[in-house]
Amino acid sequence: MESYVFWPVAVVSLVSAILVIYSANAVHSALALVANFFMLAVMYVLLDAHFLAAVQVIVYAGAIMVLFLFVIMLLGVDRQEDLRERLPLQKPLALLFTAGLAGLTVFTVRAAFQERAFPTGGLEQANQSGNVEGLGRLLFTKYLFPFEVTSLLLIIAAIGAMVIAKSRRPDQMDSEDDEA
């Protein structure tokens, strides 16, 4: 049963990942990335990570991709792009090293875990009162301090983004350009 879900989803996630880096239009890349995020959410369901599957859809496919599309529209780069490579050998070397990296990792993983199956029961015991409750219990006991630190990180990120992207008035911009 699982394999009927796994193989199509794996193929679609790989194809959409390749489309992300292959489309000449940034909007198409963003849409392919949304498809990839949804496929990963399905993978999380297969791996009994129900909370992460929901968060993947809400945070990644929802919030982060909207932010990406917003910036694409804001910068006005939503048109075809010249994909020709100007550096000699950049493309073949990049493809060679990437294929080497991915090939070696896949080979190592298969060699190390080939005979390993998921333990029977899997996460059933950890998830017995629900995946969300299990994660919440860990987050608010064992990982309470890192959890609080992430709240600080999010506040810093929000303030930092506002300061960096704050638009200056044209007259101020001109005088700054003169000084620079």
């Binding site: 990839n36 990406f68 910068l75 390993r116």
Partner: protein, 100 residues
């Protein structure tokens, strides 16, 4: 029955595609999306290990990766906006000097 190795191999291939995107593309936004691809591939690995060890710790770590990724996207996109606002394209080749 799907083995852990198959999930891990898929994650490795997704990571490879992300690396290829960073190396091959010049559009700052697409490079950023490739970084997101790599982060997600690592999350898939963490969740797989979580199931392999019958513990939720891996999922908690994946959750923290998501939080950090969200913060990273916000700041990174703000930097991209402030750099490329007055440029016609979002090409990384245009950003050659420290001053703009």
């Amino acid at each position: 029955m799907i083995q852990p190795a198959q999930f891990l191999a898929l994650a490795a291939m997704l990571f490879g595609v992300g690396v290829a995107g960073v190396l091959l593309r010049r559009n700052a936004l697409v490079v950023f999306m490739s970084i997101e691809l790599m982060l997600n591939a690592v999350n898939l690995t963490l969740v797989t290990f979580s199931k392999m060890h019958s513990e939720l710790n891996g999922q908690v770590l994946a959750f923290f990766v998501m939080v950090v990724a969200a913060a990273e996207v916000v700041v990174g996109l703000a930097i991209i906006v402030s750099i490329f606002r007055r440029r016609p394209s979002a090409s990384l080749d245009d950003v050659k000097g420290l001053k703009w």
